[in-house]
Amino acid sequence: MGPTITRRDLLRLAGGSALGVIFSPLPWKLLDDSAIWTQNWSLNPPLSHAPISLAYSTCTLCPGGCGITARCTGGVPFSLTGTKSHPVGRGVLCAAGLAGHQMAMHPLRIVQACASSGRSVGAVISPLEREKAIAAIGAILNGLSARDAPHSVALIDRRPGRALSAVYRNFLSTVPGGLYIVSPSAEDATLTTLQQMAATPAWIGGFDFEQTRTLLSFGAPVLEGWGSPGQVMDIWSKRARTGFRLIQADSRPSRTARLAQTWLQLRPGTETILALGLGHVIIRENLHAHDIKRTTRDFAEYARLVARFDPPTVSALCGVSKESIEETARTIARRPSLVVAGTDPAGGPLPNEARTAIAALNVLLGTMGTRAGIVARNPLPGEPVMPPATTIDQVPDQSIRILIIDGAESGYDIPVSLLRKKVHPQGAIVSLSPLLTPMTAWADYIIPAPAHLELLEEISTAPGAVTCSYALARPLHPVREGSTDPLDFLRLLSAVTAGAATTIPTRDAMLRARADAIHASGRGKVFMPQDGAWIEVKGLATTEQFWQKLSEGGCWIDDGPAQSRSVSFSLLPGGNDEATRCLALLSGSETPEGSSVTVMPYGVRGATASAQVSPILSKIFQESNLKDLDGTALLHPGTATSYGLADGDSATMHNGAGTMRVVVRCDGAVLPGVVHVAAGPRRNNSDAPGCVGGEGILSLCEPGSDGTWRLTTATIGKAHGSEI
């Protein structure tokens, strides 16, 4: 009988070996490996390993038309940059454009036809088969065509001048009472005003920024998204060398106002007075163009009008010192200089008389048609000559039975209330927007168009540019299943509509037609993003070659501005009633009574209440105090305390139109008694799909008789409870 093994022995063995293992490299190796493993471990999405390639396109988020160079992996773009030395974009993109490639994946993207339960904020939006939706719209159309209501069918195009716009107009011309409505972009506002003042209506102009030295802007957000950002930034950053000077007449301490060399902080709604006051000084000191009598038709009347606007009076009314008024007049008189009327992306345009008064200064200074001033621009080849389109404020109330809202963003807000006024109570609203916005949520039917960079689109002349340009926006994403090309929408609609017998062209044909016309004109040259080369159009034998270049991402630019024909203008197109309207202003505007304050909505182009910005862009608004989130109310500290409010407080604003929550931000630079409220963008993921937050402050802004909503009054007080 050999040695018997007891349990104790086994335990000893186990213990011993355990001890031994500790001193062997094994456990340490295991630890080190697990360390490395835990370091690489994460629940994050896997990254693509496909090779990286470059793709060229054009940004369609705003009418600017900046060139895009996209870095793609496996055909999916992951980063955008401005195309180097691009003639329009100047090699840069704005904050919005840089994240443009993510718009197609926006959480509020709509990818199927929908019908809304009602027109209130947060109405339930439920999917509906596309054909059914269009059939329903067609049915209404057919019903209408019987009795001819004034404007039974209207379409709002916020990006006029596209080939698509022409197709829209054709379609509408075939349906009874069809009406084509445009909302011009801010840059065009001044030019369209001048157009109305010009004797020859065909006249189109552009701002010759590059050359100008002094820019007097009445509230135009020049440095915050105006014209094509690349160009403006280029001019701005070179100012030290060129001596470019920005004078900003603005009531709000906007970024532009803060940065401008001169900031004339005028009282809200006194732009007209200031403009006429400047006119007064210019005439008094004989600073106007000497050939003024020849270039204008009603100089005498104008002179008589502005005579009443002497600096002391003006200064008293708009709160700008008499000296700085005179100083400004003299500065802009030192040409080359330009005067532009502003439109706040959310606050909307200035009233008519203000626009004319401001535009008149350009005529007065003789910048019209001269180098570095406002120069005539050749029309884009192939652009059909049509009578000027209607603007929304010209439409009689409750006259629209079917309102179709095109999906393209101008970057500028239209309050839903303004549209609501125009639409008949029983009318139907159709939205073609690919994103869920307050305006979309308000529609009865949604036929979502493909998103940004999903569709072959065109970008023509940037607003206010002196030479026209043309480029194609090549798709970087495949079209998402369920979205509908507006052309297909029209086709389907005309199919179910009696009488609408137009043939809708295919997208390709539509764009080629433009390209062919440009090629036929033989003007200009094409910029190629791949190598930055320029190709004369004349050098391209066939239209096919030209099309090829464009679809490779080429950008066509016209040869310089048109040779200026001397055009005569009327300084008071409105005649006597306009003069009287202006004179009425001298009696001073009534200050808001009692506890209420003057409210001015403001926004950033493309990031307004009715828009959706890329989730990454909204980081800026949300995670830095660089820009203001929707519902931020800027107050003068004094005003705040007088209403028992402090910085960071949550307050409620109320007036006849409604009530809303705001977050108070005190800023010493704000005028007392004025509240500037940011309209959009909302916090990220804050509005769940299917129910989008309201259009914020705009819901409090009742559009006036002149179609403006930039000024309104409301009461403000500390918020208590959970009132929305």
Partner: protein, 257 residues
């Protein structure tokens, strides 16, 4: 390997505050480049992940005339007594001697946030949330930059991935040194006002070296002795005065506040 095989660089940046308009393009470009997830709905300016953040600065009441400057604040890549390196308990922060770039190793980071308290420029962000992208957006992530997990600190590294790309390119072309044009951080590339200059400060002929040496250029909080490699320039005195934090200004600041 032979140490001379790679000449040591000192990458730096000069930001022209007279050009910056505070448009925020650099912030977006940075976020897109580095796969920073969209903001959580409850994120605030103090909980956001902003490697680069643009601040607004007004001249105090003591100055006549209202003036504002916008200041892009990113990791200043301190070149001496780098506050964040010494404090990290587990070597998750290190400086690359060949580039002078202060690197952060999120995979190593414990999330103690000691480095954030140490940083005088508030240039570091903590991942308070799990990173989360809307459906489909994860396909648009930059393949060169791995996303960070919750609970770790991150910061600007002068687009290190781009440096790697440039090196790879140079290696492919059989060159030793990279072409300056091949290595440009996202913010510099995107700035619409061209307010940022980037390059090797050791290369005396480079734009950045010249700009940094110029009279109008300055650093923020130079007296801390951290010798930032990110310089700023402006012709406006009040900005330079504020940047160079002195006993006097600190008092007036407090007065102001």
């Amino acid at each position: 390997m032979d140490p001379k095989s790679e000449k040591t660089a000192r990458y730096g940046m000069v930001i022209d505050l007279d050009r910056c308009t505070g448009c925020g393009a650099c912030m977006v470009a940075c976020a897109v480049e580095h796969n920073v997830p969209p903001a959580e709905s409850s994120a605030t300016p103090r909980t956001g992940i902003t490697w680069l953040r643009v601040y607004g600065m007004d001249n105090g009441p003591e100055d006549s005339g209202r003036d504002t400057a916008y200041i892009p604040m990113l990791c200043q890549q301190c070149g001496h007594d780098t506050p964040c390196i010494a404090v990290c308990p587990q070597n998750a922060v290190d400086v690359d001697p060949t580039t002078g770039i202060v690197g952060q190793v999120p995979q190593r980071c414990l999330g103690c946030r000691y480095c954030m308290t140490a940083c005088p420029y508030h240039a570091r962000s903590f991942n308070w949330w799990d990173p989360h992208w809307p459906a489909g957006m994860e396909k648009t992530l930059n393949p060169d930059v791995s996303p960070r997990m919750r609970g770790v600190v991150e910061k600007c590294n002068f687009c290190h991935a781009r440096l790697h790309q440039a090196k790879a390119k140079a290696a492919l072309e059989g060159k030793r040194d990279i072409k300056p044009a091949d290595y440009v951080p996202a913010c510099v590339e995107s700035c619409p006002a061209r307010a940022m200059v980037f390059g090797d400060l050791n290369d005396a002929s480079s734009d950045v070296a010249l700009a940094a040496a110029a009279a109008a250029s300055f650093q923020f909080l130079p007296r801390l002795g951290t010798e930032p490699k990110v310089y700023y320039r402006s012709d406006r005195d009040w900005i330079r005065r504020k940047a160079d934090h002195t006993v006097h200004s600190s008092l007036t600041e407090a007065e102001h506040r």
